[in-house]
């Protein structure tokens, strides 16, 4: 089993050379890049917005419950929501959700092309299919996912506001005071580092699974599942490593 994982890792690393090689035609790659920006970015916006609102709202309510009756001033909840969202919840949650939505989509799309001989057809034409089918997706994700994560953090903080101020848990002034207290810009940097690393994982791993799929529709389904599971595990592992390295 370990040798199988190592074999996949080796093949994945060697494959990266093909993926990031010079495009045959910059315009075609750019067109594909823009299409992916739209699919990954705009296509994921509603689900990310919805999840983020509830993420912020639940965080506020849970912390209010924990801190109620203590001597900690209520405005601290705004501060906690902000930092939790920026450092952990927005990048990790968003990317775990995107691994399911975008990742499975990439694995099925590329795997379907493999099965329908589209990839063979392109190869015979002389197209570097590893580069044409994968590079624009990864680059688009590296560009758009940090923006989605940033937006998720913002919406999450607004979700916290909506769950607390109109319901009378505390005042608007207290929440905003919390948001503006003890701000460390380095945390935003950490959020972006996570977003970029996770974006790479959640596109490259599914692309690999789809590109090398063999067999029929059952194998394609299995590859799609593996794409999501491995992406999720690697995102959580990377999350831990980034936290270790950037907070050392």
């Amino acid at each position: 089993m370990i040798s199988s994982y190592l074999e996949h890792l080796g093949r994945f690393v060697l494959w990266q050379r093909n993926v990031y090689s010079k495009p045959e035609n910059w315009r075609m790659y750019y067109k594909e890049f823009v299409r992916q920006l739209y699919d990954i970015g705009i296509g994921s916006l509603p689900i990310i917005a919805l999840i983020s609102v509830f993420l912020g709202a639940v965080t506020v309510i849970q912390f209010y419950y924990q801190m109620e009756g203590t001597l900690i001033p209520p405005y601290y909840i705004g501060y906690i929501v902000r930092d939790m969202t920026i450092i952990e919840l927005a990048p990790t949650f968003t990317c775990l959700v995107l691994a399911g939505k975008v990742g499975s989509n990439i694995a099925s799309e590329i795997g379907g092309m493999r099965q329908k001989e589209h990839i063979d057809a392109m190869e015979i034409m002389g197209v570097n299919t590893s580069a044409y089918l994968v590079m624009p997706k990864v680059l688009a994700a590296l560009f758009i996912i940090p923006m989605l994560v940033c937006l998720s953090a913002l919406i999450s903080i607004m979700g916290g506001y909506l769950a607390s101020v109109p319901t009378g848990l505390f005042t608007s002034a207290e929440y905003i005071l919390g948001l503006r207290s003890f701000f460390i810009p380095y945390n935003v940097f950490m959020m972006f580092v996570k977003a970029v690393v996770f974006a790479f994982i959640l596109t490259s791993v599914p692309a690999y699974q789809g590109y090398f799929v063999k067999g029929g529709s059952i194998e394609l389904g299995a590859a799609s599942t593996r794409a999501v599971v491995f992406s999720d595990i690697l995102i959580l592992l990377a999350d831990y490593l980034i936290a270790l390295v950037l907070t050392a």
Binding site: E24, N25, R27, M28, K116, E117, H118, D120, A121, E123, I124, M125, G126, V127
Partner: protein
Amino acid sequence: MIRIKDIRKSFGDVEVLKGIDFEFEAGKNNLIIGKSGAGKTVLLKILIGLFQPTSGSVWYDQLQLGDLDKNQLKELRMQIGMLFQGNALFDSMNVEENIRFPMDMFTSMTAKEKKDRVNLCLERVGLEGSNLKYPSEISGGMQKRVGIARAIVLRPKYLFCDEPNSGLDPKTAITIDELISTITIDNHITTVINTHDMNSVMEIGDNICLLNQGKLAWKGGKEEVIDSENEILQDFIFASPFLKKLKARALGV
């Protein structure tokens, strides 16, 4: 012209191709025929470079496929057109975009030049005016024609067709055969067709390579098929009792 010399291919312990020599001639319809499992598809994939042979060599005129570097291989592939068994048309693109794809990727032609070329290719395959239809909106026969149009759009020197008649009714199959044949002769293309359709063999088989259990069992033209005494060929071509009877009647036996 494409030549293969002593091509062998093994998958694990199983030797699928056992030393095949053959010459696919320019301006002719070169057919690879044989029973299922004879090694036709493997040979075709070796010819186009999707599989590496275990030993032996493939020559495209003066170029040996195995010796080409990445750029040379890319240049050669631009001279190759391929019609797939399942057509391999891109579902998300319409007919025009499918045919235009190789030009978009590899040429610096203007939009008008591309449009003209697409229309010419569509006219060539008898599908004028189908530019905006999607593959899912056209019949299997029409999809084959679009596949042929895409295969010839860059004016290839070599054309490969994998089971061009599979899934088509006999009449449409003959039309597709004739189309491939006309394009081959008019443009002096080296066409290699992988088929087990007997109509194709008798209609357009200029140069036939019969594979049996991974070996070359017979080679020749369609005119030589009926008179040949090769048992494997006769068993293959006249497989059904009906065809056997028909042959016997034709020969007056």
